[in-house]
Amino acid sequence: MSRIIRPIAALAISVLVLFFFVRPLYAELRIVQAESAQYGNVLDKATEFNRLLTSLYSEQESFPALDRERLDMWVPTKIDEVRALVDLEYLAEQHGMIFRDITAELEATEVGGEGATPQGKRGQAGESSGLFSGRLESQDISFTVLGTYEQFRDLLYDIERSVVLMEVVGITFGDGGGGELNNYQVTVRLYRLASVTVQ
């Protein structure tokens, strides 16, 4: 009799173990494995992010102070129109020109709109860039300088290569009635990056 009962009991225990212990434990294992895979992935990304952050930070910290200063001047966080006017007047005086008739926009306007040029590639977009929409602002300053054509050429060249970016967006002049001196009306555009808060 026991010969029959024992195998049946063994099979019954096996089935019970499989269904009531192994099966739920296996389901739990799958869940834990999936979660572990996700955590592993996030952990890899976090490690990579930290590595990249450290690398970038070190790289930026290694910039020479002069380069940093020039970068801050090229893309400032604030447009100093008074300083720009002083610089322009100084440049005009250096070339023997008379600086006058100044008109400056009171507020900076947002640079953006159609024709964005991604990654700052020179192209059709020119001033517009949806890429920096809301971040890049510009302010125009117009002025007149009185002098000769040669003096104006030299002044223009100096403005173009100014450390503080002054984009010449308008030039108007006539022949000056045949005289050597002439009035040159110039509009320059200054830029600032609105959202940058470098500490």
Binding site: G120, R122, L156, E160, V168
Partner: protein, 243 residues
């Protein structure tokens, strides 16, 4: 009746002799073996799964701990600084790429203007959509020279898109240029900013470029006459064809 008397009650047996082997009959049932095998497998499987689950849970706990450590390493100020400088560099590159040099237009005009042409007004305007609009008016002594001047512009990369918008005689309604009268013209051009990029010059280049400019001006002055001769022939052919 047994005649042989029994000397002892103890059965006589040789000392050290092996007892008779007792043979038990064992019955192997397939059903029984299967049951045992299944039981063993299920117990081993349960143990294995339990151990694996414990291992995975331990691994997950380690990962959570490591992730917390990595998060703790995040320096908000460092992130903000890197982000700010990165953005600044990106914008700087964009502005540098789109920085133009209007003086190149004056270079082009100086190199390509005939001696007999005099400019009256000049207007340079950067369009909001990009590109530059150039408006120039001028005077010269003859119609042919206006045409020659236009042809000269077309040879220059910067001024290649110049369009003559107006040609007329400066005074009165005369159709021919009389004494004291001049031919006036107006031209406009949409210049691509790619053609007037800002290119920083080094000190060496600046020193070298000075004599080159003066030499070029001399060459332009000399070659202008030759060009006029050749172009006048072309122009006359065109006029004949036009007639």
């Amino acid at each position: 009746m047994d005649s042989t008397p029994r000397s002892s009650f103890i059965p006589k047996q040789t000392v050290g002799a092996a007892p008779k082997q007792i043979r038990r009959k064992r019955v192997f049932s397939v059903f029984g073996v299967l049951g045992i095998v299944m039981l063993v497998i299920s117990v081993i499987g349960a143990g294995g799964i339990y151990a694996l689950t414990q291992y995975e849970e331990g691994k997950l706990a380690d990962q959570k701990s490591a992730l917390a450590t990595e998060y703790a390493k995040f320096d908000e100020s460092k992130i903000a600084r890197v982000q700010a400088v990165s953005e600044q560099l990106e914008v700087a590159q964009y502005l540098l790429d789109n920085h133009t040099s209007p003086s190149k237009i004056f270079d082009a005009l100086e190199k390509n203007t005939k001696e007999s042409v005099q400019y009256k007004t000049f207007s340079y305007e950067r369009r909001p959509s990009g590109g530059v609009t150039l408006n120039i008016t001028g005077v010269t002594s003859e119609f042919e020279k206006v045409s020659l001047q236009w042809t000269q512009y077309l040879e220059d990369m910067v001024l290649a898109d110049v369009t003559m918008t107006k040609i007329g005689i400066d005074e009165g309604d005369a159709t021919e240029v009389g004494p004291g009268q001049q031919v006036s013209f107006a031209l406009t051009a949409d210049i691509d900013t790619k053609n007037i990029p800002y290119e920083p010059r080094t000190q060496t280049e600046e020193v070298v470029s000075e004599p080159e400019v003066s030499v070029d001006e001399g060459v332009v002055g000399t070659s202008t006459d030759q060009t006029i001769d050749t172009d006048e022939e072309d122009l006359s052919i065109n006029n004949e064809e036009g007639n």
